[in-house]
Structure formats: C-alpha cells, structure tokens
C-alpha cells in the first residue's frame, strides 16, 4: 500500500537536486544567450545587453566573493549576515501575523456577526499598499519606544495575517456535515469540536497560507527596513545597491539572489514542518 519510505525520500532528493541544477543551467544559458545574440546583432530592446545593465552571470556570482567595501568582508558574507538579520525580523512578524490570522479566523467562523462586521476591514487592510503603511508604523513605533526590529516585524506581520485568516476560515468550515453531526451526537462542546475536528481538518489549508505568508513576511521585513534606513538587514543593502546600479549592477543582482534564497529557506522550513505534522498521516490511498 505504501512505498518504502527510505527509497522514495532519497530518490526524491536526487531528483530535486537534479531538477534545480537543470533549472540553473537553463537560466544561465538563456541569460548569457540573450546577451550574446543581442550584442552580436546590436539590439537594445527590450533590455540593453551591455554589462552595465545585464552583467555576466559569472560576474554576479563573482561579486559575492569580492569585498563589499574596501578592506571589508566579502559581499556573500555581508549579505548572508543581513539575510539572517532580516529573516529573524520576518520570523517574528510571521509568528505574530500567523497567530493573529489564526485567531481571527476562529473568531469569524464562530461568529457570523463578527465576520460581517470586521471582514470588510480585514480585506480593506490588504488593499492599502505596504509602502504607505510602513513609514507610519515606523514613526508610531518610535514614539512608543518599540525596538526598531520589532516595528519591522509588525510590518511583516501586516503582510502575513491575511492569507492565514482566509484559509483558516475555509479550513475550519471544511469538515463534512456528517462529521459535524457526529460531534454533535457526542454532545461535544464547541471548544472540543474546534480542537478535535475543525483545527486538524484545517491544517492543510493553514499550511498553504503559511507558505504564502512566509514568503510575504520576508518581503514585509525588507520593505519595513526601508523607510527608517534601518541598518543590518537586506532592505538597506538592496536600496543602496540599487542606487549604485549604474556603477556596479552585479552587486544588486547578487543581493537579490540572496534575498530570494532567504525567502526560499523560510518557505522550505515551513514545508518541512508541514510534512512532519500533516502530510505523513494524510496520504490518500491510491
């Protein structure tokens, strides 16, 4: 019925590695191919293939191993450190936003009135651009003597909670009507029904949201670092390198790669937790 777990997971690992490698090779090939053909034909549309706009892939990777500043550590080291810093803010924001999202979802499912009263504001909150919200939160945070990293986390939380609210609600409502009747036949309290039926049933939905939120929380943290020019994270470096783009474009591309990897690591971690908690017990028979 079930395949031997060891074999599948190791072969999955090999296949995963191979497909990532293939993707990198294809991407580098397209990038360099574009540069080569467009340079040879002297085309400049849609993107100028010159090294000042579209640096060589090896120059981008090379930039990671050169000092970011004179006599300083190499860029890779600086950016990985910055990524860890930003990830920490993102993680705190993710935890705050995830918890708020979950409990709002529970609250709304429990009370239709609350859902009707507050759901429009929850939706509206997401149509306001984060770039407009971030400076306000930074200023308010400063007035309230909240540590700066925490204000960044709050901004990250703002981007995190919404998908969790929506999917928690869907998940809590997902059990079949007969299963709900079954709980009622046991004279189960609403609390017991929540924890023994609705929340476990909602787990796959919640984890889908958490993966979206994990990526969003990294964006939120990066954007949150910008308005105050908060040092130490990826946000300020990305801003600085984008200002230096004409002089040294490869630095920006290099730090974008690191930022992307940071998001992937976070989403990967959430996926790992999901596999441990949810997927292992729920494979459907095939």
């Amino acid at each position: 019925m079930s395949e031997p777990a060891g074999k599948t997971s190791s072969s999955r690992f090999v296949w995963g590695g191979l497909s990532i490698l293939t993707l990198i090779v294809v991407f580098v090939g397209l990038w360099e191919g574009y540069k080569f053909v467009w340079t040879a034909l002297e085309w400049t549309e849609p993107v100028d293939p010159s090294d000042r706009v579209l640096p060589h892939t090896w120059d981008i990777v090379g930039a990671l191993f050169q000092p970011a500043q004179r006599n300083g550590p190499i860029l890779l080291f600086v950016e990985v450190k910055a990524a860890i810093f930003t990830l920490r803010e993102a993680l705190v924001g993710f935890l705050i936003g995830g918890s708020i999202g979950f409990w709002l979802g529970v609250f709304f499912v429990r009370s239709r009135t609350a859902e009707r009263a507050f759901m429009p504001y929850v939706v509206a909150s997401q149509t306001v651009p984060i770039l407009a919200i971030a400076p306000m939160v930074v200023v308010w945070g400063g007035k309230l003597d909240i540590p700066q990293w925490l204000t960044v986390s709050i901004i990250a939380a703002y981007l995190t909670f919404f998908p969790v609210v929506i999917n928690t609600m869907r998940g809590l409502r997902s059990p079949q009507p007969t299963t709900v009747e079954l709980m009622r036949s046991y004279a189960s309290s609403p609390r017991e029904t929540l924890w023994k039926l609705q929340v476990p049933a909602a787990m796959p939905y919640i984890f889908t949201a958490l993966k979206v939120s994990a990526a969003a929380s990294v964006i939120g943290a990066i954007v949150g670092e910008l308005p105050a020019g908060f040092r130490g994270g990826l946000g300020r470096d990305l801003l600085q390198f984008s200002q230096q783009f004409t002089a040294a474009p490869e630095k920006l591309f290099a730090s974008v790669i690191i930022a992307g990897l940071a998001g992937m690591v976070f989403v990967g971690a959430v996926t790992l937790v999901e596999h441990r908690l949810v997927a292992a017990t729920r494979r459907q028979s095939t």
Partner: protein, 256 residues
C-alpha cells in the same frame, strides 16, 4: 419497561410559509429495549429525517418524541445513543485506535479506560490488528466496522444507523449485516436501522417499518418472524423470501 424510542404524532416541516415542506407527518413509533427496527422507503420519504429527530440533530415541529423517557436533547447530552452514517466519517489524521477513542476523549474518560475500551471494541469488530493503521489504509467495509466500534465504545443503549452499508459491495454488505447481528446479540443494544435495501431490512430486523413519501409516513409495519439466530441458511429459507415479498408489496402500495 421504559421505551427506548416513544414517538407520538411526530411531524417535521422544513422551512416556513409558501416554501414549507412537510417532511414527516403523524409518526408513531414505539420501541422496546433490545428491539431492532428498520426504516425502509424510497429516497425522500423522510427516513433519515426521522433518525435525525431521534438523535436530536433536528427538532420535530409537532408531536411528542421521547428517547429513553427523556427529551431527545437530554438523551443526546446523556450520550444515550451512538450513530453510524453512510460514510464512515473517520477522522483521517487519527489512527483507527484514536478514532475509536474520539468519543471517549470528548466524554472525559481516563486514558487507560480509553485504550482499554478501544482494544475491546476493535476486538469486537475484529480489527485489533489494524489499530495503528490510518483510515485510508482500510477498505470501505473495514472503515465502517471502525465507525461501528466507535459508536459502541461509550456503551450507548441505542444505536442509530443511517444507511451504513449503502456504499459497500454486496458481499461485504452481507458480511457486515452478519456482523451487526452478532454485535446486537452480544451487547443487547437497541437499533434503529435506516436502509433502502429490502433484503437487508428483512434479514436484520425484528420489525420493518415501511415509509411513504410526501409527506413521510409510516404506512405499514411488518413483523419479521424469522428465527433469532440468522445466518446464510436464513437467507435461503422460504419464509425469508415471503417476507421480502411482503415488504416489497407494502412499498408498492405506498407508491401508488
């Protein structure tokens, strides 16, 4: 002797005003402890609705309904009945054992008592070797046996079954029927069994109540006078076929 189910003139109307639909009318049903009653009728005749009234999953709009001489709601709060649905409704994140323990957890049984009873129930439905499997690893018939074990785990005095074998193949179905009769004999529980299979109703029951739709009524009652010990030979006995014919004719009369 107190009646397990005592319904007098029970009716159920869904909706109100012009949209009102009379689902059940004038239901009289009296069941003694240890009885086995089947409700049979075409789809939409209200047999599942009647079962849900007894279970306090719905409320009657007229008449008087008592379960164990209490209101259905009190009987539900006292956990007087166990319920089995057409789909096994097992929680797929719980092992078979943990599924059987679910009602016991909700009813605050101590941990040792829970596992003791789960063992006992899984023994009873002959699934003890599958205790640590997940529901998706079991066949449909096995899943339904787990659902029955779960319904019996807290020793209710009444078992309500809503087309429990409707989704199973014929062979599995006959095995499950034998199984239910064995459990009924061993536990002395009272059973209300909803089905639309005539042979199933006849083979299992002491009484078959034939229902007719629009509005749902009990149109006739057929006493099943087959010997209490029923097995394959019962299914081949002339009396069994006579009773099947009798139920079928009662259903036909209801339709016209």
């Amino acid at each position: 002797m107190t009646m397990v189910v005592d319904a007098r003139g029970v009716g159920k109307v869904f909706g109100s005003g012009v949209d009102a639909v009379q689902a059940l009318a004038d239901i009289d049903l009296v069941m003694e402890t240890g009885d086995f009653v089947s409700l049979i009728g075409p789809s939409g005749c209200g047999k599942s609705t009647l079962l849900r009234l007894v279970a306090d999953l719905l409320e009657p709009t007229s008449g008087e309904l008592l379960v164990n001489a209490k209101t259905p709601s009190q009987a539900r709060l006292d956990r007087d009945y166990g319920m089995v649905f057409q789909s096994a409704t097992l929680l797929d994140w719980r092992t078979v054992r943990k599924n059987v323990e679910l009602p016991l957890e909700i009813m605050d049984f101590a941990a040792e008592e829970r596992s003791r009873r789960a063992e006992e129930m899984l023994d009873l439905v002959q699934l003890d070797s599958f205790a640590d499997h997940y529901p998706w690893q079991l066949s449909g018939g096995m899943q339904q046996r787990v659902a029955i074990a779960r319904a019996l785990a807290f020793q209710p005095s009444l078992l309500l079954m809503d087309e429990p074998f409707g989704a199973l193949d014929e062979m599995t179905r006959e095995l499950m029927q034998q199984e239910v009769l064995r459990l009924w004999g061993e536990t002395g529980i009272s059973v209300v069994f909803v089905t639309h299979s005539i042979p199933e109703a006849v083979f299992l029951s002491r009484r078959v109540l034939v229902m007719t739709p629009r509005p749902g009524r009990i149109s006739s009652e057929i006493a099943i006078d087959l010997p209490p010990e029923r097995d394959l030979s019962t299914r081949e006995s002339p009396r069994y076929f006579e009773l099947i014919t009798e139920v079928r004719e009662a259903l036909r009369r209801g339709e016209s």
